[in-house]
Amino acid sequence: MSAAEIECIDVRKVYRKDRIAIPVLDGLNLRIAAGEFVTLMGPSGSGKSTLLHLIGGLDSPTGGSVRVGDAQLERMSERELTAWRSRHVGFIFQMYHLVPVLTAAQNVELPLLLFKMSAAERRERVATALKIVGLSDRTDHRPNQLSGGQEQRVAIARALVTDPDVILADEPTGDLDARTSEEILTLLNLLNTEFGKTILMVTHDPKAAAHGQRTIHLEKGVLERDEVMPRKTVAAASA
């Protein structure tokens, strides 16, 4: 069980298109404590996903610094970031992004292939991850044999199988119905409360945001509001 603190100092991100500079993040400062469950809200184009990508080491800031645990991301090369992501970050996407030709277990196993680990140990960790997300009976099913909620559970199992410090979720319930969304959010809550994972989740849904401890509102690339949420317990969420 591991978690990491996230710290962004004066983070700026400017995209260039046809020589026109498009600022997306403009001097953003943010600190997320290890083991916190933080949701990120804001209108489209406010910089939520960009911030998530910077914290996940998928992109580099134009200015400022991003620290996750001991890793100062802006100083790392692409190769170093790739290796770092595999060990420290679990990603959950809105569209799940499972490999359609692989079974649920094989999808979950994918990140473990980057580790020096015996096949037996991989199998054990995959079984544990699938058990946590409640899909022990779906190990040999392919994505097209699973419901949307089950696919997202497999994606969550894939994100946590390496025991990452941070889980980054980009609108994980955006493609699910209300009941399934609630199940997924309950599961994320469980990862935070039971396994102590630092979770940063982008969402447009205030109900989803209510599952976090804090909600950060972004507006035009700056932090508009940092709101502490009344914590919704797993039991309450399940009710």
Partner: protein, 389 residues
């Protein structure tokens, strides 16, 4: 760390049609290549084992083959004066005067006619062509209407078993009986029918010979013998017997060259087929690739995955192509020489070298075709690819 092989294998079946088309193209190319190489190897093996370096083949100056050569009896008699001609146990020079003609004989497979060489020889021929050895029956009696047939001829053409009858002669009105079967070290002579020189001359109404073959007592000094025969006192054209057959295989080399160019062009087409399939695969899997990059797979791992996928198609197609060619392996075919206008029976055989060559071609096609799509896959912009459509 590379992606597991089952990931590559299963992805091949996602786009079945384009995968199957690419598979078919590569399999056909490999099949053509394997058959071509086995054809060339078969002809080469047959001709390379034909003739001896210690024998001299003599033709009329300007003649390219025995079929276009006429040597008169007085010219034959001059040949015994050439230096280093070996002598038999009875002290007579080992000079084999031979008349080579053709006859049409149906193939045993489909009954179509083939031009088969008929060689009229004197008994001394068996001392000159030392590789010729009876394996069934007996020699023909000179003067009788009897023939012996080469092993390849017996296997390839109808009625050439012992006891079989072959119509020969200018009007095909003399019926010769097969009394023996010979082998000749796998060489071209095994595609021939041999009979007594006088019988053949009589049946075909020829008063001349087409060639003479001399056995040397010292193969190292063959050049002196050749110079003497080519010189003013004899004025015929001599060369080592082995060189004569190598010269006959020139046409094969031309066929191989032309077909190789065709295979080259087909291979370029296959490269494009592979590239097309792999580009479609990359474009259809942009998000999947981005996800793999996100969870920590390197650019190199992605590049390797797509190269392996392409290789898998090509290697399996190669196996299918080789499998197809193996159906022909061991079969006897014949090749009509445009020099002798007779057929040479040879054996198609898929050897280890041919398999390696075919595999090499398949791997090169797979690698070259997949390189650009694989590079594109490895350079996908992760964030853009992850975004919703």
């Amino acid at each position: 760390m590379a992606l597991p092989l089952y990931y590559n294998w299963r992805n091949l079946f996602v786009r079945k049609l384009s995968t199957m088309l690419t598979f078919a193209v590569v399999a056909v190319i490999v099949l053509v290549l394997a058959v071509l190489l086995s054809f060339a190897a078969g002809i080469r093996a047959s001709l390379a084992s034909s003739g001896s370096r210690s024998n001299i083949m003599v033709l009329k100056p300007g003649a390219t083959a025995e079929s276009t050569s006429i040597i008169l009896p007085d010219e034959i008699s001059k040949l015994v004066q050439a230096p280093h001609v070996a002598r038999g146990g009875d002290g007579r020079p080992l000079v084999s005067e031979e008349l080579c003609v053709q006859t049409s004989i149906p193939r045993s497979t489909d009954g179509t006619l083939a031009n088969v060489a008929v060689r009229g020889v004197a008994p001394v021929a068996f001392d000159v062509h030392r590789e010729v050895r009876l394996i069934e029956g007996r020699r023909f009696d000179d003067g009788a209407l009897e023939v012996i047939v080469g092993k390849a001829a017996r296997d390839r053409y109808a009625n050439l078993q012992i006891g079989g009858e072959v119509p020969l002669g200018k009007l095909s009105n003399r019926t010769y009986r097969v009394v023996g079967v010979f082998e000749a070290g796998g060489g071209a002579l095994e595609s021939e029918i041999w009979a007594g020189l006088t019988s053949i001359r009589d049946s075909f109404d020829r008063r001349f010979s087409s060639s003479a073959v001399l056995a040397l007592d010292d193969a190292v000094r063959a050049d002196e013998t050749i110079a003497a025969i080519n010189g003013p006192s004899i004025q015929l054209e001599a060369r080592r017997e082995s060189d004569y057959y190598i010269e006959l295989s020139r046409k094969t080399r031309e066929i191989v060259l032309l077909t190789s160019i065709l295979i080259g062009i087909m291979s370029i087409g296959a490269v494009f087929a592979v590239a097309n399939t792999m580009y479609a695969s990359v474009d259809g899997r942009r998000r999947e690739i981005a996800m793999l990059r996100t969870i920590g797979f390197s650019r190199g791992a992605i590049l390797t995955a797509f190269l392996i996928e392409s290789m898998l198609i090509c290697v399996v197609a190669c196996a299918a192509g080789i499998g197809g060619s193996l159906l022909l392996s061991g079969s006897r075919q014949d090749f009509l020489s445009d020099t002798t206008w007779t057929v040479l029976a040879y054996e198609l055989r898929i050897t280890g070298d041919i398999v390696v060559s075919a595999l090499g071609l398949a791997v090169v096609v797979g690698a070259v075709g997949a390189l650009a799509p694989a590079l594109r896959a490895s350079r996908i912009r992760v964030i853009e690819a992850l975004r919703k459509a």
